[in-house]
Symmetry: C2
Subunit: 385 residues, 2 copies
């Protein structure tokens, strides 16, 4: 059956053995896969600093593993920061990467020892100068989402335009912050590697401009965006790394700044398998060619990123034989709790109520995004193998 090769026979064995007596739905995360991916990132980008984007999967066993492997951490909120401190991660391994933060959270982070922040607005620079004096600061450049080939594009919510960015850098220098580098994000699940080329070119010219103005920065944060393998296949990490390293070499040569990376999905996405059960199969009329397949997992208990059918997860089932088009929907009374209606997912005709569906590569942006009690359904459970 298709997709079986996403996991090794041993992993499948372990998964099936573990799952047998568990009530669906639940997520199983193979921690060993995360370890391999992390080593992969480290080998592919040997002189870069890796900051794991905690929001992708804040599960304690993953954070402990990455802590022990020597990873750094990109945090989106004071809550994630506190979670890491509790796990014994020292604050000099953290970057407060969210540009939207309350001044009291900046102060709290500073008091707890964090000295690296990302910003993109005048108000936030002033907050940093006031509440985190002398800290190193990345300035986030706005990327043009419209032309990008990212499955979960970043829109205009983050970053600022070049002219504003250089103004912010000057302001930060004036306010005795340490203007450290430029950051960007090409959009999550970015399938077009050349997006990095365009971004690095922009950053390079901005760094030159700033150096000429007497404010030499020392780092680039090339963000996340590294894809996981879903239904639509991507180049693998080695190809990404080779290309991106070439871009960096082209633009900077011997004058290479420090390079920061913030993988989230690319690091943990493929480590997870969401196990669900078919609750009901129905046709709306006798003549309907498509079946509606309702499962006990849905948009609000694990599959949030299927909104707009953005992320298309591979689905494995034990059933075999001829397939037919299905519409996949979740268990709640909400009409937007439909995972796939436009994209013609194929599942075996023999699929029956009670059969299990295995949603592959669901390690990122699933369990922690569950609603607390949408329609009364509990959040998705997670187990670590």
């Amino acid at each position: 059956m298709e997709y079986l090769n996403y996991y090794s026979p041993e992993e499948w064995d372990a998964l099936l053995r573990f799952s047998e007596n568990q009530e669906t739905p639940f997520l199983v995360v193979f921690t060993e896969k995360v370890r391999q991916k992390f080593e992969n990132f480290r080998t592919s980008f040997p002189s870069s600093k890796i900051y794991y984007a905690v929001k992708a999967n804040p599960g304690t066993p993953l954070l402990e593993l990455l802590r022990d492997l020597g990873s750094n951490f990109d945090v989106a909120s004071i809550h994630e920061l506190d979670q890491l401190l509790e796990l014994g991660v020292s604050p000099d391994r953290m970057s407060f990467g969210n540009t939207i933060k309350k001044v009291r959270h900046i102060r709290e982070a500073y008091e707890k020892g964090v000295r690296l922040f990302v910003t993109d607005s005048e108000a936030d620079v002033r907050h940093l100068a006031e509440a985190a004096p002398g800290s190193r600061v990345f300035f986030r450049l706005l990327m043009d989402a419209v032309t990008s080939d990212s499955d979960w594009p970043l829109s205009r919510k983050f970053g600022c335009q070049p002219r504003s960015l250089t103004d912010l850098v000057a302001l930060a220098a004036e306010l005795d912050l340490d203007p450290y580098g430029i950051s960007f994000h090409v959009g999550s699940q970015q399938r077009d590697i050349q997006a990095w080329d365009a971004a690095i070119a922009k950053v390079s010219s901005l760094l030159t401009l700033l150096a000429e103005a007497g404010i030499p920065l020392r780092a680039i944060n090339i963000g996340g965006g590294f894809p996981a393998n879903y239904l639509i296949k991507n180049n693998n990490l080695a190809v990404y790394a080779e290309e991106i390293n070439t871009y960096l070499q082209n633009y900077f040569g011997e004058e290479m700044p420090a390079i920061y990376l913030e993988p989230g999905r690319g690091l943990v996405g493929e480590s997870g398998v969401l196990v669900s059960e078919v609750v009901l199969i129905a046709r709306k009329a006798k003549t309907d060619r498509k079946r509606w397949v309702y499962t006990d997992t849905g948009v609000f208990n694990g599959l949030m990123e299927t909104l707009g059918e953005s992320i298309k997860y591979p689905i494995y089932t034990h059933c075999a034989g001829e397939t037919g088009t299905v519409i996949l929907a979740g268990p709640t009374c909400d009409s937007i709790d439909i995972m796939y209606e436009e994209y013609p997912y194929q599942l075996p005709i023999s699929l029956a109520i009670g059969d299990r569906l295995y949603w592959l590569a669901t390690g990122a942006y699933t369990a922690s995004y569950s609603a607390i009690e949408f329609n009364g359904f509990p959040p998705l459970k997670t187990f670590y193998l």
Copy 2:
């Protein structure tokens, strides 16, 4: 200031006094408003049975209030059913309204005393016959979502076409269930009252057909869909009731079936005020005319229904004076955590970081829809005044 009249001066007083020392974001629910609305529904539909759609807001104080007022309850899952049992609601006041349910949950509901179910597929009818023998059953008719004027339309996820429906009724009768009535839902936040006219007409002809076939049904469930007042104003409940009662009279006259109602949003929506704080205000470039206003509440901690800008909440602030267009976004690193970008929301130019925003009519589909730890942010707290 606009919108102040959503709540009485006493309610505003109570809200502000209570809120003063609370850290944002949080939701305040005025239980008295729910009591008034319930009485309103009871007066407007004097001979109907009211089943509160628990999913709209499963807060314990609301459920207790409605229990004491004599309401019945529409449940979406076995979890909501258990919650009601714990509050002492007897099972004969519940309807298991979700057509997507596991057979073991049907059995559990039946064993706990529930005898009223809604269905729309052959498999589910067979499950009901097996696990809830003899129960009364509503058959849900598929409504045409395309032509409707609902802000949160129901799509084709629920219901079946007329021909299938009559087949299901016959099957249920054959399997010794009690075919009780036809249900439909015109779409949540339905602003076009005539949607009920069209639906009741369809149901009426189906009931005639079934009676002629020897299976007389005795009830109609006209669903929810009653709107709350958001930014775009609706007719009030009295107008809805007068129209709908007229439709029913026209089609049934003396042969009136039992009428069931399932208000959710229409009953509790206006009872809530979500209190948030402005975290940051920014322009992406000096020349930008629109301000980005980032608040500490967003799509994933309370404002889920702003997805696609479906529900447009009125927003009150203490600031006064000239207004300008804003883009409103939440606090997470996620790019879809933007509430309003297309619709030109106006907020005072004088609005500053740290000011509070009051999101009105947020009593339905907010707190319980919060993610457990999206980007580390905790779910929305709720207080009942």
